[in-house]
Amino acid sequence: MYQAKKRLLLLTLLALLALTIGACASSSTPAATDSGESASDAAAPAADSGEAATDEGGEKSIIIGFSQEPELLNPIIYTQTVADEVAEFLVEDLLAATDEGEYVAMLAEEVPSVENGLITDDGLTVTYNLREGMLWQDGEPLTCDDFLFTWELAMNPAETGAVNTTDLSAISSLECPDDNTIVTKYDEFYAPFLTTFSSNILLPRHATGDPTNMSNWAYNREGFVGNGPFKLQEWVSGDQIIMVKNENYHGYPDSPKVDRIIARIIPSREVGKALITSGEIDILWDLSEADVPEFEENPDVDVYSRPGLGTERLVINLADPALDATDDPLNNPHPLLGDLRVRQAIELGIDKQFIVDELLFGATTVGTSELSLGWAKCDIAPSAYDPDAAMALLEEAGFTDEDGDGVRECHDCEYAEEGAPLSLKYQTTSGNQLREESQQLVLEMMADIGIEFYIENVPSAELFGSWDSGAFRKHGNFDILMYTTSDVIDPQSQMDGYFSANQIPVEANGGSGFNYSRWINEEATAAIDAAGKSADQAGRAANYQIACEQITADLPHIYLYDRAEIGLARSNITGFGVNVFENSITWGNANWDKE
């Protein structure tokens, strides 16, 4: 019996040991790579760290920390920002948006315009001239046929499973008169046509596979073939993505300037900040305004911060929240928020500059309008902070505090029942520290003018849920929501989706559209519609200005602050910058260098 026990104990320990060793052995098998170059570095700890710019083998590597991992790289399927950031290394487009919000030619000879004859006067035919001799990373020629292939994928989403098809499927025909000419035709004018070939969506016909089997393409991940400055060498799931210089890139060998980009998955932002401080990584993605102050004094790390296209706002429900997705908000107004004076009082009662200074450390600007940057920028002055005027408006609207509890109630107001308190549900995504802190500030500011905001936050999946899942945002069962949405370099889909009268999610349209405020404004709808039908940039901008002015007057949204796009880079990294129009810190990576 003694012996048996002893043996069992020994066996248990042995089994544990075997588990450990087995695990070590299985994961130490080197992953196969298709690179012919020898691994010249990292075999031993660096003996000489005086020369920091290059590895042991004389290679320059830049290590970038991402807090998320791309799910896949196929640009017609992916939906994550981080996948776009990684694709920026691997794919080059016909056109790109600069950090000033203008288009530049990349693979194209020039940006199409009416002046250079590449756009017809009616704007329905757009021709792109592809530069001669462009190659995929595997040396195959990149021709008009690849654009045709990409367009075909987008035109049959039901069969292929393509997701990001909006721009491409607006094209009614795509023709290839020769290998380097791409002719796109539209049935009706499509305002954001120039974004079609500036969003990393370009797939090689020869290196993908059967379009009906897209989910299983090797191209989606380890077999990715691109044409950008770098090419994928190895992807260790959950750990790192190694990209090396693409010798078939048109700028080779001068461009890109570094030999390798290593994208490291660092899920904790706090850890990412520690690692860029110690110099273990060179660039860090996805920071918030609150992360800025601790690096301002650090000479080894540069902060790149710009107000971006996203604006944190209050989305105000103008319709009765007790109804399910009413299609007639004008006759069923929100009992409290339906009165314009209440909305005006809310805006006047919020000290936006205080929020920017205290919570965002002055890293960004106060929100003024939907379009705060770029060629279509609206010219709207920041709202005033004037609690006295706000209280006067509330008095005028019939909201006074007669029972002395600090919250006004309706006494002969326009829509609400007599005696109903001016109390509003205030919701945002739970677990977001910045949002929760700003809620506290807004809550106090509202209390100062006699409005009660009460917080009821929900997980983002619930807030942003679908019509079919019964999400309260889609169905209009809310008072005030707070979140960020962003326009893109062409603002048409954002303006139309959020503010056109026909974009209210209702039963009849299957809950499509983003006009959650249920805001009906003929003038704005007409202006947005006109802007979407014109190729004339100045005329479009004028129409967006009209729409922005209507928003400012009617206040379906109250803009709080512009979200800053922030990147951190070690000070020996050059050529780095934040491009808010590509929503990217990896833009221009061919020019990155390490000193």
Binding site: S237, P459, A461, G497
Partner: protein, 340 residues
């Protein structure tokens, strides 16, 4: 005993079926879902999303989806992740090795620290050693793991630099005064960045901080178990008898007391073993370790139900199996326990 084991294994089958049904139902009831990631994308219309749902088979009722899923699993097909479109099996096996590697080393380290300390604390009850270790054990259990991991990184990666670095030598630099010197310990990951053939010593270096963290937390708990068990045994009659017949104290402790005190500990260890496969979310997140915990968290956030089902069912099987192992071992170790 054989009958007992067979009976338990047969009982596990309906249990697993019920677990899979409940879990599947719970996942389908959670708000969000695989297409919620697309909801905020202004470039996708409601039709696009409806089409995606149809492609992922989400438009069918729950019981139909469950039957489809179960039918495939019975044939060994765990399906594809909704997020990465890769086979669930590939996704899981890529991470499983990493997880077992970290967790088992950490677990062994835990036991190596905890068992001797527990024994000594019990034998020298209320000594200074006992007080100090008891205090530390409680501290270990009370410190927030996330905070502690971050502190480890700040100390070993940001403040302390590699003593072998010839350009700077060993120094406690004040945050950023250290120019080109390399950190003492890597701040995460399994291998040096970009290394294609990492050496064993590099692997050990990368494992050092996460193992220390997991072991300190685990040791807190196991020290208490061990001490408690030992104390219970030490005061029993047969120990007094052993002493009375003149055995020396060492012999009494090691061959009489310890053997009996370890029996319940081994059961606890067996019950703990499934955790070696489940991973540790916080440790993996802080030390950028590509393990199962993070895979599960990502899948849960994404509403990726084929992945979630795969991970949960593997864990259910392991838990049932190790429970059985624990019961069987108990019978072996303690002759008083009989199952027939």
């Amino acid at each position: 005993m054989t009958n007992y084991i067979i009976r338990r294994l047969l009982q596990a089958i309906p249990l697993l079926i019920v677990i899979s049904m409940i879990v599947f139902l719970l996942i389908s009831l959670a708000p969000g879902g695989p297409t919620s990631a697309f909801e905020e994308n202004p470039n996708l219309t409601a039709e696009d999303i409806a089409r995606l749902e149809a492609q992922l088979g989400l438009d069918a009722p729950v019981y139909e989806r469950y039957l489809t899923w179960a039918g495939k699993v019975v044939r060994g097909d765990w399906g594809y992740s909704n997020a990465t479109r890769r086979p669930v099996r590939t996704e899981i096996f890529e991470r499983l090795g990493n997880t077992i590697q970290l967790m088992s080393v950490a677990f062994l380290t835990t036991l190596i620290i905890a068992i001797p300390i527990g024994i000594i604390s019990a034998v020298r009850q209320y000594s200074l050693f006992d007080h100090i270790t008891t205090f530390l054990a409680f501290v270990g259990q009370a410190i927030p793991i996330f905070w502690f991991g971050l502190i480890l990184i700040i100390i070993f990666n940001v403040w302390l630099n590699n003593p072998v670095s010839p350009s700077t030598g060993f120094q406690l630099s004040h945050l950023w005064n250290c120019g080109d010197c390399s950190p003492l310990m890597p701040g995460g990951g399994m291998t040096p960045y970009g290394a294609e053939n990492p050496t064993l010593s590099q692997r050990i270096q990368h494992m050092f901080l996460p193992v220390i963290m997991l072991a300190l937390f685990g040791a807190g708990t196991y020290t208490r178990y061990m001490r408690g068990q030992m104390l219970e045994v030490i005061h029993l009659d047969y120990i007094r008898t052993a002493r009375a017949k003149g055995l020396n104290e060492r012999k009494v402790i090691t061959s009489h007391a310890l053997k009996n005190a370890l029996t319940p500990i081994i059961t606890i260890i067996a019950l703990e073993l499934p955790a070696l496969f489940g991973g540790a979310l916080f440790t993996e997140t802080i030390f950028s370790w590509p393990g199962m915990g993070r895979l599960f968290y990502r899948s849960a956030q994404r509403g990726d139900y084929p992945m979630l089902m795969g991970i949960i069912m593997i864990n259910a099987v392991l838990i049932i199996f190790f429970n059985l192992v624990a019961d069987v071992m108990y019978a072996f170790l303690d002759p008083r326990v009989r199952y027939d």
